[in-house]
């Protein structure tokens, strides 16, 4: 079971509170986790990745185990601690603006 922490606005959109837990078939990667997330919460389609290009939105980043995974290939296997459920995958909105 993969644990995912969403930014507050996306938790509101998905109508969940706290972490989301996902079953991911095969080797968990950022791509497969976001695929599973969108399958379970279809209202999140297009909010994390652009609908057409499937690119990560510029002001969102992926973190896990104190590492920034945002610039990794989306097909890179996630850390073991995320796969085992010990650590969550964090989807973080950039602190931007001012």
């Amino acid at each position: 079971m993969i644990r995912v922490v969403l930014p507050p606005h996306l938790r509101g959109l998905a109508r969940v509170s706290g972490e989301v837990q996902l079953e991911v078939a095969g080797q968990p990667t950022v791509r497969s986790v976001v695929d599973a997330l969108e399958a379970q919460f279809p209202m999140l389609h297009g909010t994390i990745r652009d609908h057409v290009t499937q690119q990560r939105r510029p002001f969102l980043r992926f973190f896990a185990c104190e590492e920034d995974l945002s610039h990794e290939s989306p097909d890179t296997p996630l850390p073991d601690a995320v796969v085992s459920g010990k650590e969550p995958l964090l989807i973080v909105g950039a602190i931007a603006g001012g």
Binding site: P42, M43, G46
Partner: protein, 395 residues
Amino acid sequence: MSGVRVLVGTRKGAFVLTSDGKRAKWDVNGPHFAGWELYHIKGSPADPNRLYASQTSGWFGQVIQRSEDGGKTWHQPGTPPGEPAPGPGAMPKGDSNKFAYDTSEKTGKPLTTHQFYDGKQHPWEFKRVWHLEPSLTDPDIVYAGVEDAALFRSTDGGKSWHELAGLRGHGTGPMWQPGAGGMCLHTIVLDPGNPQRIFVAISAAGAFRSDDAGKTWRPINRGLKSQYIPNPEAEVGHCVHRIALHPSRPNALFMQKHWDVMRTDNAGDSWTEVSGNLPTDFGFVIDVHAHEPETVYVVPIKSDGEHFPLDGKLRVYRSRTGGNEWEALTKGLPQNDCYVNVLRDAMAVDSLDKCGIYFGTTGGQVYASADAGDNWAPIVRDLPAVLSVEVQTLP
């Protein structure tokens, strides 16, 4: 007793303001979608409890929301709360948020680039929905004007969207360029007497008309003069801010351009300036009295460099002669130290007798007049910056 529902989109959420026909006491409901930008909310004329909303964010992109109960509850079309995810082979949900430009071989192939700030060609990139215009007759049909400028239509209540590619593809698309607010299609006007006719306006390209329900388009900018572009009388390139018409005279349209207030009496074939005695003819909003087709309202703004009222006095100007002769309406509006703006989609009218006029400001006030503009009072004073105001007159 009849009533009024005012739909307000702001930088940080949506608000629904309701009153009875006296329009003296108001209930304020919101914020809906707190923290998101709500560019536009509009109800279906065919089913007033069916509302569409454009919820958008620089972080999370575009979301379309729909309400079936006049704004009390909302859901994304095709994704009602509690409904299970689709099985294999079912239409993928989440398509209500998907605005994909037409790149098909048949209709989309030539639609590649537009002019950019640097004068070079730049590919179209979807950013957000500026304006939602529900069909006058079918609650499930709704049009979306988007940035980068294009027109989309949904025929299934917002579950899926398809570009009307004839607009970008009619030939002038490579000459369109973004205005300061982006290259947005911000105005959609449906002709109530002719279901084949649609008007749109784009910053900075100009106004366009379709006479075949959106299949083919042509620019309708003859008579516009914009001194700030290389050819002031060019076929396209004008920064049109807003267009409005009265349902009883759909060939007569009024336009607030970047500078200049204009009118046409031949559905845009030619325009004439009617700025007349306005103290400044820069502005964003323009609207028409619900019962008097020659009574028009604008809110003059000092200049394109100073987006606030002249002399710090917030004044609506009304013409009862279809333009040229304007009177300042000031009762109840701040007449000193007021430096707010009124954005292009932030004025609307109700159809009660007397006609109510409403507008919202970037300072978070929504002002209402229950007597066609003679007297004004704020409904609310301290909302986030107002992006749009729409009004529904309820039975």
